[in-house]
């Protein structure tokens, strides 16, 4: 993700924080599926270098997606429908070693 600083954004149904290579989203009211969340993130959070995070309609390889601390692969990945109070966390595995 682009910014190493903290960026906080809130829309009607989402709150997102970008901090130190991690994007943390709080779903306030159910806001579609993760695919649409990514579109929102790309439009609102990733001003510079969106390709560091998004590839096509999914995340770049190397970015992990956790919903309520569970692997999104267990939930249908992009098709998972966000529920109220869900937290979505995007972690880049590409930083450091």
């Amino acid at each position: 993700p682009a910014a190493l600083g903290m960026l906080c954004l809130r829309s009607g149904s989402l709150r997102a924080i970008v901090f130190e290579g991690v994007i943390f989203c709080s779903v306030l009211s159910s806001a579609g599926d993760i695919r649409s969340l990514l579109v929102w993130i790309k439009k609102n959070l990733l001003k510079e270098r969106p390709e560091l995070f998004i590839q096509g309609d999914s995340v770049r390889p190397g970015i992990l997606v956790l919903v309520n601390d569970a692997d999104w692969e267990l939930l249908g990945e992009l098709d998972y429908q966000l529920q109220d109070q869900d937290s979505v966390l995007f972690i880049s595995t590409l930083h450091g070693g």
Partner: protein
């Protein structure tokens, strides 16, 4: 998802609570009946490998087991041995430090038995971090280091300028312990422990922030500028990454030697090593893959580098760190925000990760291949001279003059004395200043001198380095190779000198 939950409710036995209550903290899984593949009971939280879903507890057990088994099966780390953990602040090395921490605190039968210290190298000068940002990062780093309770060392990369010439000499190789020696060592250690009634290693928050051979305190502005200049002047990001790797390694080894550590642990994960293997091939380091990516790397002789995280993928590391709150420190790196094709390293990383997304066994396949690599000299070849920078035995075959490499190196003397005896082998030489020794190179370009003593990969890399470097390798290295009485003094004189000084001294 709403449809899925309704289906489940219909099929659930009457009177049972709706699934949402049962899985109150976890989101509705795509396959509601899916259970952990290990215990068959827990609700899965992470998918690793190709489709294996694990619950939190089984995942933790597997993760820890992998770490312990990697150390246990290789039997290279003897009880009571001092091991330096190379911590970059990143997720893999943080996880490694945390595994060691937890491993040392278990009950005595299964406890890890070595004595750890931690080193953090501040590389802020290479990516233009401001002094304020560096200080801020170091403050965070210190907090984490103090939590571990291990002795810790913080060194700035700039200290590499003050390393004594001995750092580039390969010390005599310590014979590796045999199986029976290992067992005997373990038995005697356990007996000692029992006799002492000791509960284990006392963990005080000692710190050894100062290395006796390096200047006290943070690097001077001049050194930082010299480091920045050095990295700015390197033409390609690929060469920068390799240079950084080389300098960092030498610095860590130096600290290890100074403080009696005989092993260094690095946090290279499975994913990183798969990328490194392919990158090394592209860089012309195919001959050294076994050392670059294997569990143990003994090229430096007295200090052995081991990679206990080599079976953990980056995904597993990230999940573990998140689920079990492993602290790490985020620092900018050389390649932060660099585009995909900026360096061979980045290109290979993108290639492997994209392939992995489509073919989830990519990383493990590359890893299995690396496990099969054997470290053995070619038949009939006595261990020859070593590369000046990466310390690997030069892959020189003077008989093979047909290849470009063979042609380049054909005049390298076969009987070149091993570096450990260089001080003895080199008699007094007519050259007052630079590079005295057998095959006197008076008047010859010092750069060419150095190039001849590099392996193919390091040579290609060196081409991207500028002609003149402020006060470091170009002039001091030939003297390091064939040290004379005043070599150390000359190195010191050169350290912060500018190119004017260099020109002056070369005439003396």
């Amino acid at each position: 998802m709403c449809e899925m939950s309704e289906e489940y409710r219909e099929s659930a036995p009457k009177g049972s609570p709706p699934p949402r209550v049962l899985v109150s903290l976890l989101p509705m899984p795509q396959n509601p009946g899916q259970k952990c593949v290990k215990c068959k009971e827990g609700l899965p939280v992470v998918v690793i490998r190709a489709g294996d879903a694990f619950c939190r507890d089984c995942f933790k057990a597997l993760y820890v087991h992998k770490f312990r088994a990697m150390l246990g099966k290789n039997r290279l780390i003897f009880p009571g041995e001092k091991v330096l953990l190379a911590w970059s602040g990143g997720p893999s090395s943080s996880s490694m430090v945390w595994q060691v921490l937890e491993g040392l605190s278990r009950d005595s039968a299964k406890r890890l038995r070595f004595v750890p210290g931690v080193i953090y190298v501040d590389e802020g000068a290479t990516c233009g971090q401001s002094p304020e940002d560096r200080a801020k990062t170091l403050a965070e780093v210190k907090l984490v280091l103090q939590t571990t309770g291990f002795p810790w060392h913080i060194v700035a990369l700039e200290e590499v300028f003050s390393l004594p010439p001995s750092v580039l000499r390969c010390s005599a190789q310590e014979p590796l312990g045999t199986e029976s020696a290992y067992k005997a060592a373990v038995d005697s250690f356990l007996q000692q422990q029992h006799a002492l009634g000791a509960d284990g290693v006392e963990r005080q928050s000692q710190h050894c922030a100062q290395d006796p051979h390096s200047p006290a305190g943070p690097p001077t502005t001049a050194q930082t500028q010299a480091m920045s200049r050095l990295f700015d002047s390197v033409k390609t990001l690929t060469a920068k990454e390799e240079l950084l790797q080389t300098l960092r390694t030498h610095l860590i080894l130096h600290v290890a030697r100074n403080h009696g550590y005989s092993k260094v642990m690095t946090g290279d994960s499975c994913t990183r090593l798969a990328i490194k293997l392919m990158t090394s091939l592209a860089l012309g380091r195919g001959a050294f893959l076994a050392w670059d990516t294997g569990f143990s790397d003994e090229r430096h002789g007295d200090v052995v580098v081991v990679r206990p995280m080599r079976e953990h993928t980056l995904k597993e590391v990230a999940f573990y760190n998140r689920l079990f709150a492993v602290p790490s420190v985020c620092t900018p790196a050389l390649d932060t925000k660099a585009p995909e094709k900026a360096s061979i390293h980045r290109l290979m990383e993108t290639f492997i990760l994209r392939l992995q997304a489509q073919f989830p066994s990519t990383v493990s396949t590359v890893y299995r291949t690396s496990e099969k690599l054997v470290k053995a000299p070619r038949d009939g070849c006595v261990a020859g001279p070593r590369c000046l920078l990466c310390m690997c035995t030069l892959d020189v075959d003077t008989a093979d003059s047909a290849t470009a490499f063979g042609a380049q190196t054909s005049h390298l003397p076969q009987m070149q004395p091993p570096v450990t005896q260089a001080g003895v082998a080199a008699g007094p030489c007519c050259c007052a200043g630079m590079g005295g020794g057998p095959g006197c190179y008076r008047g010859e370009d010092p750069r060419a001198q150095v190039m001849e003593q590099l392996c193919y990969g390091c040579r290609v890399n060196m081409k991207d380095l500028p002609e003149v470097l402020p006060g470091s390798f170009w002039v001091s290295v030939p003297t390091m190779r064939f040290p004379r009485a005043t070599a150390e003094q000359e190195v010191q004189e050169y350290l912060l000198g500018d190119s004017e000084d260099e020109a002056r001294t070369s005439e003396s």
